[in-house]
Chain length 315, copies 2
C-alpha cells in the first residue's frame, strides 16, 4: 500500500534543505524558443551542488535519519550521480559514507565520489554483486543504506526543485522531467499536484530504455530490455513507489531517439552555453519531437544534471 | 591625441544598450574559490547575446550612427565574434550588414554570421586582403565600417559589462579582463576608473601572444610574433586608442601558458557547468598561476565569450 506525502511534508522538506542546497536559476533561450515555437524555461539543476538534482534527495534522506544513525554513516550502491550526492551529503554533515561502485564505472565518477571523502567499494558490474557488497558494508559498519530513488524521503527532497520552479515562474502548462528510476519525476509530480495543479507533468524517456513507458501501458513494472542509451542516468528500472506516483500524477511519457537526445544536448550547449548531460537534454528532445503538441505553450524543463566526461562527448 | 570618454558617456552608453543586450549573471564556485584561496566572481558574458561581450560594442557603435548611415548598413572584417556581433546588431535594427571573412575561418563561425542575415564576403587569409575586400564593400554599398576594438563607441559599449559588475557586487579588489585587441580591457578600465576607483584592473594574455605585455614594457605597440595560441580571440594587436587606455588605467598584464589556459577552461566547464572559450578561461588561468598575489582577495573575472567549436575541443 502506497501513501501520498502531504503538502506539509513537501514544505517541510524544502525548509530543511535550504541551508544545504543551491536555489538554482532558470534560463531561457530566444533561439530555442523560436525553434520550438513555445516558451521554454530551463531549471538548471546541472548547477546544483555536485552537479545534479540528486543532491536534494540524498541530503534530505540523510537529514531525516536520527543523530545516532547519522553518526554511523550512510551507504549506497550507484554508478552515477547518487553516489556523489550521498558522499557530499555525508561530508557536509561530517559523517562517514561508503559507495559501492561497479568496477567498470567511469574513473571520473569514482574520483568525484572520492573527492567528497567517501570510501569506495568496488564490485562486479551486476546488480547481484552490488547488492551483496552493499549488504556487507552495512553489516560491518552498522550504517544506513540510502536508495537512490525508491524512497519517500528522497522523493520529498527531489520535489524541492519543482517547488522552486513554481515560485520562480507562473502559469506553466507543462513540466517535463526525465524518467530513469522515477525519483525525480515523482517529486516533480507531487510538487505540481500541490503547488500548480493546472500544470501537466510529462515524463521524457529514451526510446532505447522505454521501460517506464511500457510499464505505464501495461500497468506492471517492466524491466529495461536495453541499457545502452547515451542517457546513462536513465537506464534504471522504476521502483514500486515511483511507479505509483507516475501512475497517479503523470500525464504521459514521451520517448526520444538517441540522435534526438544528442541533437538537443548540442543545442543547449551551443545556444545556452551551459553543460548538461544527455539525461537532461532528453526533456528538450521530446519538446522538439512533439512540436505540434507543445506549440505556443509555457513549458518548464528539468535539466537534471551536468556531469559529463569531457573526454567522451558524442559530438 | 587621445581623449578619455567622460563618466556621462559611459552612463549614456549603458542606457542606450539596455533594450538590446542581456544583463548577464555573475556565477561563483565554492570549489574554484577553494583552489584559488580567494573569492572569485565570474561575469558570464558567454551568456550575452550571440555568446560574447562583443555584442555590447558592436551594438553601441551601430546605435551611434545617424539614421541615414544605419539604413545604408554596416560592415567589418573579422574571423571571429565581432562579425557575429555586427550581424546581430544589424538584424536587430533591420539594416544590411556585410562581413569580410578569411576563407579559412571555421565553418561554424561563417554559419553563425549567415544565420543573423549578414552577407559574407570571403577573402584570402591575410590582413591586406581583408582590408582591400572591406574597402571594396564600402565603396560599392556606401555602408559604414565598424572597427572591432580600436573605436571609442565600441569601447564605450564594452564598458557596460563592468558597469553591471560594479552594480552586482561591491568591494572588488581586482578585475581581470582578457587582452586581445584591447577593446574589452579598455572599456573595463574606464568603468573601474569612474565606478570603482579602488579596483585594480589586470590584463590576462597568452604567453604565446604576449604583444600587449611587451608593448606595455617598451611603451610602443608591438605586433604579436606568434598567433597560434588556442585563445583565438586574443591573437590581434593593440590599436592606438586601446593601448592608450591600457597605459593609462591598467595596473599590469599577466601571462599564462597554453596548458594553463586549457586547464582553467576545463575547470570552469567541469565545476561551473558553463561553456567558455579559451579566451575567457585565461582570466582564471592567471589567478591560479599567481596564487600568492591574489590570495584572500575579491576578484571579478570577465568571461568574455562562449563560442567554441564543440567538434574541436582541447580535451
Amino acid at each position: 500500500m502506497q501513501r501520498i506525502p502531504t503538502k506539509a511534508e513537501l514544505i517541510e522538506a524544502r525548509k530543511k534543505l535550504i541551508p544545504y542546497i543551491h536555489y538554482t536559476p532558470i534560463f531561457q533561450s530566444k533561439a530555442i524558443n523560436q525553434i520550438a515555437e513555445a516558451e521554454l524555461f530551463f531549471k538548471a539543476e546541472n548547477m546544483q551542488k555536485m552537479g545534479a538534482f540528486k543532491m536534494r534527495g540524498a541530503m534530505h534522506a540523510t537529514l531525516q535519519l536520527s543523530k545516532e544513525q547519522q553518526q554511523k554513516g550512510i551507504a549506497t550502491h550507484s554508478s552515477g550521480n547518487f553516489a556523489q550526492a550521498m558522499a557530499l551529503s555525508a561530508q557536509l554533515l561530517g559523517i562517514p559514507a561508503w559507495a559501492v561502485m561497479p568496477s567498470n564505472a567511469p574513473g571520473v565518477k569514482k574520483a568525484a565520489v572520492a573527492s567528497y571523502g567517501a570510501r569506495i567499494i568496488e564490485c562486479e558490474p551486476n546488480l547481484k554483486a552490488r547488492e551483496a557488497a552493499l549488504e556487507q558494508v552495512i553489516n560491518e559498519n552498522h550504517c544506513t543504506a540510502l536508495h537512490p530513488y525508491n524512497d519517500y524521503d528522497v522523493i520529498l527532497g527531489n520535489s524541492t526543485a519543482s517547488q522552486e520552479i513554481f515560485e520562480q515562474i507562473e502559469n506553466i502548462d507543462y513540466l517535463i522531467s526525465p524518467v530513469g528510476g522515477g525519483g525525480l519525476i515523482s517529486g516533480t509530480a507531487l510538487a505540481a499536484h500541490y503547488f500548480s495543479p493546472q500544470t501537466k507533468v510529462i515524463g521524457a524517456e529514451p526510446k532505447l530504455a522505454d521501460d517506464a513507458f511500457r510499464s505505464l501501458e501495461c500497468g506492471i513494472i517492466q524491466a529495461p530490455t536495453n541499457t545502452l542509451t547515451i542517457a546513462d542516468g536513465l537506464r534504471t528500472s522504476l521502483g514500486d513507489k515511483t511507479f505509483f506516483f507516475i501512475k497517479e500524477f503523470v500525464d504521459q511519457i514521451q520517448l526520444a531517439e538517441e540522435e534526438e537526445i544528442i541533437a538537443a544536448m548540442r543545442l543547449i550547449w551551443e545556444r545556452m552555453k551551459i553543460i548538461v548531460e544527455p539525461s537532461s537534454a532528453i526533456s528538450l528532445a521530446v519538446v522538439l519531437k512533439n512540436k505540434d503538441f507543445y506549440k505556443g505553450k509555457r513549458i518548464a524543463l528539468l535539466l537534471s544534471g551536468g556531469n559529463v566526461d569531457l573526454g567522451k562527448l558524442p559530438f
